[in-house]
Symmetry: C2
Subunit: 484 residues, 2 copies
């Protein structure tokens, strides 16, 4: 008798009798199959910011829709104005209904020569500490993490024939590019994503042994700035001194963005910042964050941000301004003696509660325009933006999810912040009043966005087990929102 046939005996109307241990055992026994599926997804180079990979983004979406259909979801790929999304539903006649969000797109892999192996040919690599790493672009952010949830659902289905509560899935393909098509898609199809709570997995453990629920995300404003001086590249001998150099101009503009103490020096940049409430501040203090070690792990010893704030505040509760890329003139081998016509930089701002991306964008543009010297033109290209979000730290869903995590990890979970941005969290909160439970199993050394990104097999395994438990626990919650 197959596991699936066996599971037919379970009565879904009696949640207390859910064969939780059996589902966990099934997941344990099928880890290799779960890894095989993860590897299939990782082999698809779904880089969303580069138009060259559009068909691979489509392919990743199709793969996911197919997997969801295979475990009983009513799922399909939905086209958007950009890369497609995947939506799947598997309802229950009563009880709560949750929405799980993830993204199948990944960051570019450059600089490619810093990867030890092909970033889209995932490999298992045993480590001296006994861990095994899955090394690949997207291994952790977010393909490995989102599959923990799908595999948890698969285990429930395999053992019991159904899920312990109603589940919708929503995977986007533009998270790494500022989700430009999200708003329009939600305008058209958002109603069917309504649920009691949104789960997501694009976050970190607090440490290898302690799980976390991330209750605070920074927002994001992404800008490209191009400075043009002469109408063509000039010979630096013939024009050196006389012709305005756009690299020099751009460097001076960038230098003006930070003050002496590391603060962002745009006028009024901090004026709408809302500090975290007392309860959250005390939770954060209890974490005893080891700032020295945080910096040491990446080869640094001193924080560069506003010295009036702790390192944890700098990355979680204070807005930032970072130069993500710069290019101008000749940067191949040797030297080309030119004064280039133009130079470009990519600049992003991490925003915190209270800050409006549009208002910050205006202030940034004003700051730059006020500093442009003669004969220079500046062109701004907005690359997207989203507000910061804060998740209420008291709710039955949060309490029960933390209880489930405690069962799996044998310790209390913690509430943490994230310096990163998951736009969907603030979008779903502001559009539908839908709160999130971001529970992720990534470790701080997973190299998100960097060469040699990895995910620990133990993260993948305990992630699947954690979601199996969270699904069981949340099935007991009161449903207080409209079902799908």
């Amino acid at each position: 008798m197959s596991l699936k046939e066996q599971s037919v005996a379970t009565d879904p109307t009696e949640p207390t009798s859910l064969p939780l241990e059996e589902v966990l055992r099934h997941a344990d026994a099928n880890m290799n199959e779960s890894l095989d599926r993860l590897f299939q997804l990782l082999r698809i180079p779904s880089v969303s910011c580069d138009p060259l990979y559009a068909s691979q983004c489509q392919e990743a979406a199709s793969w996911l829709a197919n997997e969801l259909t295979g475990i009983g979801f009513d799922a399909c790929v939905r086209q958007t104005t950009g890369h497609p999304v995947v939506v799947g539903h598997q309802g229950q006649t009563s009880g709560p209904h949750i929405l799980f969000y993830g993204h199948y797109d990944v960051q570019p892999v450059e600089p490619l020569d810093e990867w030890a192996a092909d970033p889209f040919d995932p490999k298992l690599r045993a480590q001296p500490d006994g861990e095994t790493h899955i090394v690949s672009r997207g291994a952790s952010d977010d393909k490995g993490q989102l599959l923990t949830f799908i595999e948890a659902c698969r285990a429930w289905k395999a053992v019991t024939g159904h899920l312990p509560l109603g589940v919708s899935m929503f995977f986007e393909g533009e998270e790494e590019s500022g989700s430009p098509s999200m708003e329009q898609f939600l305008d058209e199809a958002g109603q069917e994503l309504r649920a009691d709570v949104m789960l997501l997995c694009d976050t970190y453990l607090w440490n290898d042994a302690v799980p976390a629920v991330t209750v605070m995300f920074r927002g994001l404003l992404e800008e490209e700035i191009e400075v043009t001086c002469a109408n063509r590249d000039l010979h630096s001998g013939a024009y050196g001194n006389a012709a305005r150099n756009p690299i020099q101009v751009l460097a001076e503009l960038i230098a003006s963005l930070r003050g002496e103490s590391g603060e962002v020096a745009i006028e009024g940049f901090y004026e709408d910042v809302r500090e975290p409430d007392e309860k959250l501040r005390s939770e954060l203090k209890k974490l005893n964050f080891d700032a020295d070690n945080f910096l040491k792990n990446v080869g640094l010893s001193k924080s560069a941000g506003d010295q009036a704030y702790s390192v944890l505040e700098q990355v979680w509760t204070r807005p930032s301004c970072e130069i993500n890329g710069i290019a101008g003139g000749y940067y191949g081998d040797g030297l080309k003696t030119i004064i280039p016509s133009k130079a470009v930089a990519k600049i992003s701002f991490r925003l915190v509660a209270g800050q409006d991306p549009g208002k910050i964008q205006s202030k940034f543009h004003e700051h730059i325009r006020a500093r442009m010297p003669a004969d220079c033109a500046v062109k701004f290209t907005g690359l997207g933006g989203s507000k910061a979000s804060v998740i209420p730290s008291k709710s039955e869903y949060l309490r029960r999810a933390r209880a489930a995590l405690k069962d799996e990890w044998n310790c209390e979970s913690v509430l943490i912040g994230s310096g990163g941005s998951i736009p969907i969290v603030s979008v779903m909160q502001s559009r539908f009043g839908l709160d999130s439970l971001p529970i992720g199993f990534a470790r701080s050394d997973n190299r998100h966005h960097s060469p040699n990104e990895k995910y620990d097999v133990s993260s993948f395994h305990k992630g699947i087990r954690s979601w199996i438990r969270v699904l069981a626990e949340l099935s007991h919650c009161e449903s207080n929102r409209r079902k799908v």
Copy 2:
């Protein structure tokens, strides 16, 4: 009877009987063949700064050696530690012996998409003003210009069977890369390049109607600077504010290189600068340089350099510091939310008389090191350097060359400076006491080092005719140096 047979009748011991007009007519009649040869050379993509083009540099050298042999030179390709040089000799039993210098290497062609056509597929393009442009990388700098001299020699040989004076040719392939192999080659083989004077053609007309002898070149110091902060690229959400950003650091360093008035802000940068003498200053003043038009031609209206000096002084007699290229982080399509590990810039200094490249390099390194914040490493890579040079404004060779130019152009030539650097001029001056006569036929709109570089057919034609006359005139000079 062929032209060559006919020419045997001329007596080389009687310079006054040289059939100058006949040689000029021969050059006129053979312009299409001269252009064909130029196009052959232009089709060889001899980009010296990029190792990918090493074999093409070799090919250009072989082509030149072959052409020289074809017109009676004892010529061959000589290997160096870098790209090869070409040396050829054709002596006379008495009278002066001159050395002609040129370079067969060219600048890279990036950005390729700004070229109207393949930069290595030269084409003639008729212009509304009646001129015809030769459009190609190297059309003017320096392939077109150096061929004016070879074609002048060819015409003399074709008509008279010999040259009016002893001539050596010396073509290098690393002028656009700072001539890294030059010193070693001159150590080994420099003696055979001794001559009474060195001619070169890598310079400009004063305007379309007025030829010039360039008597002042700036020197050059080329540096690459790499700033490294964290030991890998970081997620700008997770680390934004806290982690030192090497692009921000590099921008602040670059901003520190120029002061409020556009002066170079490195301490002691100007301390060894030798101002031009009174005679040269008055010659320069007489030029009535149209600074507004100079800037307007490239889309600018106001000079960016030290405002205490005129535009002509800024580009000829004052040293500069230019950022030639910069790169860091992600600069492809879209945005990648990283704080990169490193950023790099290519920086060059144009030096004037009195300044020592080694001393300026030390001051630059000190300036940068004194400004490095915590957790940042800086790596300097020297890419070459040369001193500025000033050519004596009184000599029989200069006087006679100007007389020849007057005959061809029907006006007095002028003495000018160049903001650019031709390292060989200072090297030959300091090594062998060999002065130069830099006479070029390029126009200011030739787009040296830029997309759509061009050379006017009229420059090519009058260049050949000018050299034919200069060779005749210089044959009357006293020889006061050891011959080859």
